[in-house]
Amino acid sequence: MAAIADLAGVDLGVHGETFHEERRRCNWCIWSFEQTIQPLDYTKNMTRADYIGPLPSSVGMEIPGSMAGRGSQHADNGIVRFLPHLESIWSLAAKYIQDTHEQTYDIPLWKKDSDYTRITARMLEFETVFPPEHRSDRTRPDQYSKEEVRNDWGYWTAWLSTQIIYHTIITLLNHPLPVSARFRSNERFPRTFSQATTDLVMLHSNWTGRLLEMMKEMSCEITDPFLGYCVSVAATVYLHFCQSENPSVREMSEASLANAKRVLRSLSARWPVMSQVVSLQDIYKNCIIMQANV
């Protein structure tokens, strides 16, 4: 479909720029689906290429007007243009999980040539190109009224996708399950690295929780099934920390888990596939409880 989407010879109609923009978006959507929604198949050990097609514009998704014009040294490149970059990294993170499951890795996580280190470097590279105007410390929906957010919903959906995918990639990398699965009993696991992964997974899964809470307070419904999958990743982390001996960690995790479950149930009403993600969550929860009781 991606080859067809190159649209050579396709009749673009007479609407000029509108259709050129929709052609760019269609091209990117197909690639995006291959990175995120389409079931992954790494049996041939192929990695997905970075997106090199024409980038979609941010028409209809401009940064909210009241925040524009604040002093900035960086040109506003439009937020949607950064999603292909992030989705490329997502597919690497998904492969990291797949390789963990299939035990097709041979370099310990903390070493400089590991997939963990390479993906972390890609994320840091992303941070250097992502404009500060779109970061959550400068721009957040709770700085606006509910009506303003609804009127600029085109921007906020792209903003939300960027935030959640960013935090989910780091959550996946540092998730207790793949980290412990890759620990080999005959190797010494650096305590510093172990603590760093715990800190990172807590920080970034909590950020996902804060974003969900923000959307709830703004009465904004999340309808993207891929973001639902990202929420389920964070929920598996909350499940782990619900067993924590630290009461404040346990309490925060339980609250975040409740919110995540609310979003997943809402999504399962729209998308049948999400109802089964919710079932998998229950199975995972039982596994963790059994492991904690051993």
């Binding site: 109609g13 929709e22 085109g154 089964q276």
Partner: protein
Amino acid sequence: MKYCHGQPLLLFHPCIERDFEIRDPELIAAIIALSMRFLDDALASEMKLEANDFATYSRNTVSKRVNDGKIRLSTIQSLVLLSFLDFTGKLLDNELVSGH
């Protein structure tokens, strides 16, 4: 546009809200089939057959365009929407869900 635009589908220019009715029929049908996922629960189950009819019509029209070699941008856009509908409507592997 209310529920799916940017979540995750960024297929359309915002002007689609103005020119929706003059878009190709297979695209209109695919959009309607997807939109019916967002009806309230009672209406959604009542309209499930209609949603399937719209999706089927879209698929058949797209197939005809492909067979006739008359692919347009709307053909590809319809395929994207139909693929999205199919993927999000399907069940996961039964063994995975039952935990065996």
